[in-house]
């Protein structure tokens, strides 16, 4: 059976020693820092319960809060648009840019932009795209997709970054140090960022009662991209809603702690509509694109809890599979456990059935999720659906069917166990080095040979 695309990508990742170092440096550090932050927040578990309750409340009443948000945002002077699909969302964004005569847009980091394929749509429309977040700038230069939702350029070494900057920056760094490289990016991006016609952001939260959007960032690039331009466009998933500021605050207490171990990010910014008449700066127009792209379906088809996600990245930072294969192996916009749940929903189960399967169901992701998403349960759900839809390989279906048939017939089962013991012990006693029917196992580890007789047989013979 030929390896799937996922397995090929995972194998390539496993063979890359540089990737492993990069993953440990970011995800490993994040794990350690989150642990410290949680230690210092005695009520963290209660905060998770409250966060999950807030999100569940919103998900249950999503239509109501969307309407409330739209009314409040419109009253504040913003224009609210709705998009059912990624394509629809891109079309809306491009039309707004074209109507504004935009030659360049400055983007602050947004996974939603990545999800809907906005970079490609902007390129097709001939609109220049300035990625202002340092990591997004790096991957734009490299022509790659993000490999982590919080550290998109996690997979890149400083040597690779240096080479990119030397190739593309007009006044690149003189010394091979990370501060010098960051300074080069600061120089390179500044004028473009400040001179862009349109600024495009995502939103961490949409606050329904005031029509406010909230962004949570560290670099200052978001504000520098979103305040000077004529137009500010927000692309946000419909699940980003919260009823009020007070609800957002409670989730904010969970977000940075879970992502990086910080109490808050450096900048927590709330925007309500465009520039007011007597404001001294700000965009003339603000457009908010509310994007469904499968979320309403997720709610109706057993994935409602996934809509609680606040995009902190804790699940992937603590996932033993992600820690070995990194983000690109997942093949979609979102990696790690949350990506394994979302990607089949966004991109189809048949193409992505490896993702829910390439999981040990160890449950660490659920343990660290700030809003208690039952990720293993959702992954099991995908496995069940895959089975129902006949997507699992024939050999697996037959194997499970045979196992189940025999397991319901104890006498037959005992005979099968005897045969298995006999068969395995032919390949060795004590430790087996190579077992043809389990070559995946014995390629990497020894297999303990079975004892001469099964427990049930020995027990039946009177052993105690």
């Amino acid at each position: 059976m030929s390896a799937s695309a996922f397995t090929r990508r995972a194998d390539a990742a496993l063979a890359d020693p540089v990737l492993k170092i990069a993953v440990e440096r970011t995800a490993g550090t994040a794990e350690a820092k989150r642990g410290i932050a949680v230690q210092h927040f005695a009520q963290f578990e209660q905060a998770r319960v409250r966060g999950a309750a807030i999100k569940d409340h919103v998900i249950e009443h999503l239509g109501h809060y969307l309407e409330q948000f739209e009314a409040a945002a419109t009253a504040a002077g913003a224009q609210v648009h709705w998009a059912r699909t990624a394509d629809e969302a891109c079309r809306i964004v491009i039309e707004i840019c074209q109507a504004a005569g935009a030659k360049t847009v400055a983007r602050s980091k947004s996974m939603m932009g990545e999800e809907i394929g906005l970079p490609h749509a902007l390129a097709e429309a001939g609109i220049g795209r300035i990625e202002t977040d340092l990591a997004e700038h790096i991957i734009q230069l490299a022509g790659e997709r993000p490999s982590h939702i919080v550290w998109p350029a996690m997979h890149k070494t400083s040597e690779q970054v240096s080479a990119l900057f030397k190739q593309h920056h007009l006044e690149p760094h003189n010394e091979e140090t990370i501060p010098a490289m960051a300074e080069s990016a600061r120089r390179h991006l500044r004028d473009g960022m400040l001179g862009a016609d349109v600024g495009i952001s995502g939103a961490n939260f949409l606050i329904a009662d005031t029509g406010t959007i909230c962004t949570v960032t560290n670099e200052g690039n978001a504000e520098l991209s979103l305040v000077p331009p004529r137009v500010h466009i927000v692309t946000a998933g419909i699940e980003k809603l919260v009823p009020s500021m007070g609800h957002a605050v409670q989730l904010l207490r969970l977000l940075a702690r879970s992502a990086t171990g910080a109490t808050l990010t450096q900048y927590t910014t709330f925007y309500t509509g465009p520039k007011r008449q007597d404001d001294s700066d700000g965009p003339q127009a603000m457009h908010i694109v509310l994007i469904d792209n499968g979320r309403s379906t997720m709610r109706e088809e057993g994935l409602a809890e996934m809509l609680r996600c606040i995009r902190c990245g804790a699940c992937m930072n603590h996932c033993v599979v992600f820690r070995q294969i990194g983000g690109h192996a997942y093949g979609g916009t979102y990696p790690g456990p949350m990506g394994a749940v979302l990607t089949p929903a966004l991109d189809g189960l048949a193409k992505n059935r490896d993702l829910p399967n390439a999981c040990t169901l160890n449950g660490k992701c659920q343990e660290v999720c700030p809003v208690k998403i039952p990720l293993p349960t959702l992954l099991r759900g995908w496995r069940e659906r895959s089975w129902r839809e006949g997507l699992e390989p024939v050999s697996v279906r037959q194997g499970i069917a045979a196992w189940a048939w025999v397991a319901q017939r104890p006498r037959l089962y005992r005979t099968a166990v005897r045969a298995a013991i006999f068969g395995m012990r032919r390949f060795g006693r004590g430790w087996i080095k190579a077992l043809p029917m389990a070559s995946g196992w014995t390629a990497h580890r020894d297999m303990p040979a079975p004892a001469a007789e099964s427990f049930m047989r020995r027990y039946a013979k009177g052993e105690r």
Partner: protein, 199 residues
Amino acid sequence: MSARADILAKLGTLAPTAGAAEALLVDPVRRAVAGDLTETFLAALTLPASGATHDRVAAMADVPGAVAAYLDTHGLDRAIFLPPDPRLAADWSGFKLSPVIMPNEPAVVAVARLGIAETGSLVFETGPCAPMLPNFLGLHHVVVLPVAAVVAQLEDAALAGPQPRAHYWVTGVSGTTDIEGQYIRGAHGPRFLHVILID
């Protein structure tokens, strides 16, 4: 059907029962802020992760002197961007004032509406006298904060009623760990944050 109608038809628009959302705000889950608010604020502000420095003066009239002293320690000229904020009214005659904010402005002075003790954050909002861009452009961000304006928790920073165009919390200096996870100060925003408390 329009996208809006489609999406809302799928989701339904049933309103929650009265008080359900508000019930989730009762007793917010948070660490208690005990003791002196200003001390707690400063403890958070001076954590290594924040990167901020601070000073304390008796009155607004002393602020220009404190700003001058700060600029001197960094070997900077006494040249600043000062927003036309009446809360910053003082004798700024010893300074060269930028008429307009420049992309590489060395130093920007601002006044925060509040400080939040829980996190060591500074709270700002936009207004006719309070432009937003300078607070993110300056290399050095010097922020005036009356001690009486330090509140306990994040919830206390919320503004009731109609919201300003933007309001934002600044918690430490700008930074990034995007390259090899190494922390860099001053990614795009200010590299230095200096808070001058007024008693």
